[in-house]
Symmetry: C2
Subunit: 491 residues, 2 copies
């Protein structure tokens, strides 16, 4: 059986002599094979083109896409340095059997490759650099006027977020009743013809996020629709998925979120969702991270095609159990939003959002941010982007810094600690005391080693040295709530 | 069949002529029939004495008790005005067949009678006066040195609490490793002989609480023991229960809490507990309020002998379901304590305690208080009484005042409100917004009536008029968390 990742073409044509040095691409960068081809009929439907890229014993089959105006592209992202040779396959003679070579070079900073699952419950860049997801949410930012999209990027430049939840389709929902400038399809609803201008804008935004070190957690379907994109039918859905993968999968910062609130998307059965995952899995040569997000009914995050669990809710204390059940990272992508709109999901305080990031962390999860402050022009960060108005982002930056400095990718929640704690046993322990305010607290660390203690105030963003300890001990604490205590093994 | 409450003596001896005017007692007051009797043998075990009190067609059979020094008492609390005639029964001739009369008079303020269950989920005094439980906890206050007991009473004089959880037996636990001056039994552990001095002190404290308008929620068994009182065996347990009832049941402010953390009391089976409830039920002529409190395993609060559910925990949101299941009032007697000791159950902040009182209230429950601040002499309110050091008590006073002024005994939690709300439909609605901070919030009240709105800050203890509303509307709110909103029908 031939899989996308490992197939050696069963019908490889004799390759043309490679022309070394002609085309170069950085490892995990993007190389477009650009081809001119037929314009007649409907190329989006009639023409199939792909290429097999080979490097030594490795081969990847990559689908191409029609980019309009007679241009076809096969978009490739190599994961090994050296020479890759490719041969195209197409049902149209002028696109078939084309060959070429691209030389993959070592990546230059800040290219660390795609984010992958590491150490079962965590993530990391492919080059070994650490990656701790600190996501935010601007569902429809790429569908806003140009200036607003630019403002969003400017905000992100100094914000603490390194993952963005964003929809491919435009969004129709409260605070979001605007028509976008561009639609994914020609004439808005011709599901057989994609509008390259729409997709080029999306790609450009994905690349800009990448330049900022931000992963694009792309939501492929969602229920906030008045155009019909949630109800296109199986054939159009599949065509859309394949087109999105062909255009976007090569960007190393792309993650697939099959749907937001999948259980609110009417008219697709569970088996259809499963089929869409299989399409994604077979079409994506890079096996990008893949999840699905629910409203009330969880998807089975144990399914093999899901790389991590994307949770809605605030049941952080369930994370240890979920980790054991699914053996995957758990991200609370939506735990409500900091804001003040008349919605229970969009009116939590900055303190509560900060609190939730900490609770999620000590229970072994990652947590996502969003902001929903009333705005005279209805520009709410959670949907349209723009500027941040809240107070949690600064605290999230503080937490991120703090975790970046520790053994974050090795942290696991302790079983039944007195206060919730995530730890790398014997090395680092991070307790969050929540509403508890002990003036004295009992801890137990390994005996025979000394641990340096810090009292951390997640809201005031202070770290105060608090002595060193070993074994079982009682420690003086400030006696006020919402503090954290960290112990690190002395050097 | 003869029941304690309604029996007409089947073997009533001819009564002596009543001597009207000689003995008088207020309705719900306490009248002691004092008798001199045998001192030989062990009167606690050997002598049984009781009396039947009759008023018109009503009769109550009341067990007496031996009070030492040849004195026997039959302690009676009438619940109807007029003449009650009594005849004693005993297995000793000198105590048998004694008759008398007591004239029951209308109660004078502040005697409102015992607290009873009213309107299924609430409480009220027998005379119709409202009673909203706002309890606190000083488990072992009556076992402390005299001066400390007095200090506790002095504190209670200005505190907002009208119910006290307190143990009959002394307590042996962290912060409580003192021997009491008095033990319930002679020689500490002679379970066949009660020490009247111990019981007289307890009664005196119960009467003093009564004078302060405080119900004594008496805990009959508990696991914090090093004397053996938790493991006396079935015979001694029953004798103890009957003695406690004979001495204490006549005090109208007595509630029975069969046990604290019953599931931590080793060596008593569920059926033994059930039997103890039956003993209590048959021995107590007044059917005082009766509950049992758990640690991890809940008793079945649906049992008919339980008048209300005494909960440990913070699952306030479950109250509406529990109300429906048990059809009884729900009291969260322990939701952790405000304090700073190195215990998860004793280190919550004053804000959190305040928050819990509000959450419990809007979900249709009542909530109990306790305080555990470190003290150089280990005098922690929750166990020994003394002084209050925390900041929640003042906020509890504020909430109590607020509820006292409304239709509290008719409040029920709304089904699925946007924010949790308890209401008397059409009249009064109390929302608590928890960590939500909407600057605008949507509400729906009955149309065709006008409701006066107040924004309430439970921590700052402010009530701010906020206009009047009707039907469906969006209301401006301050946009900060932990506020409540009240709507009252305009006069």
């Amino acid at each position: 059986m031939i899989t996308r990742r490992t197939a050696l073409s069963a019908m490889a044509a004799p390759l043309l002599a490679a022309q070394p040095g002609e085309d170069r691409v950085e490892r995990w960068g993007v190389f477009d094979v650009k081809l001119n081809g037929p314009r007649d009929g409907n190329p989006f439907v009639d023409v199939r083109v792909s290429a097999e890229f080979r490097h030594e014993h490795r081969a990847l089959v990559v689908d191409g896409f029609y980019d309009g105006d007679g241009t076809y592209r096969i978009r490739f992202s190599p994961d090994m340095d050296g020479e890759w040779r490719y041969t195209t396959r197409s049902n149209r003679r002028e696109l078939d059997g084309r060959t070429g070579t691209v030389s993959c070079t070592a990546p230059a900073a800040p290219n660390h490759g795609p984010v992958v699952v590491r150490n079962t419950y965590h993530f990391g860049y492919a080059d070994g650099t650490r990656y701790l997801p600190f996501g935010t949410t601007c569902y429809a930012w790429t569908h806003q006027p140009e200036a607003l999209q630019e403002q969003t990027l400017a905000t992100l430049r100094t914000a603490p977020f390194n993952k963005m939840r964003m929809c491919v389709f435009p969004k129709w929902y409260e605070y979001n009743r605007d028509e976008p400038r561009l639609y994914p399809f020609v004439n808005r609803n011709d599901y057989t013809r994609f509008d390259p201008a729409f997709w080029r804008n999306l790609e450009s935004r994905i690349r800009q996020l990448q330049a900022l070190g931000i992963e694009a957690d792309l939501i492929l379907f969602h229920p906030y629709d008045h155009w019909g994109y949630a109800l296109m039918g199986a054939e159009a859905d599949e065509r859309y998925l394949r087109y999105a993968v062909a255009r976007l999968a090569a960007y190393r910062n792309v993650w697939w979120s099959m749907a937001n609130e999948w259980d609110l998307v009417k008219g697709k059965s569970k088996s259809e969702w499963d089929r869409y995952f299989q399409i994604l899995q077979s079409a994506d040569p890079y096996s990008r991270l893949c999840s699905i997000h629910h409203s009330r009914v969880m998807y089975d995050h144990g399914r093999t095609f899901l790389t991590h669990a994307s949770i809605q809710g605030d049941e952080f204390a369930k994370t240890p159990e979920w980790r054991e059940t699914w053996r995957k990272p758990v991200i609370f992508d939506e735990c409500k939003y900091e804001g003040n709109i008349p919605k229970r999901w969009g009116d939590i305080s900055a303190q509560e959002m900060t609190h939730r990031f900490w609770l999620g962390t000590v229970y072994g999860a990652y947590v996502g941010h969003g902001e929903t402050y009333l705005d005279p022009k209805d520009v709410l960060w959670w949907s349209k982007g723009g500027a941040l108005h809240g107070q949690s982002a600064a605290r999230i930056a503080f937490l991120r810094q703090l975790l970046q400095a520790g053994p974050a990718e090795a942290l696991s929640p302790l079983a039944n600690p007195y206060y919730p704690c995530t730890a790398k046993a014997g090395e680092c322990y991070l307790y969050y005391l929540d509403y508890h305010q002990p003036a004295l607290a009992d801890f137990e660390l390994p005996a025979g080693a000394s641990f340096i203690a810090d009292v951390i105030d997640p809201w005031e963003m202070t770290i105060t040295a608090a002595g060193s300890y070993s074994g079982k001990f009682t420690m003086k604490l400030p006696g006020r709530p919402h503090l954290a205590v960290r112990f690190r093994k002395a050097a």
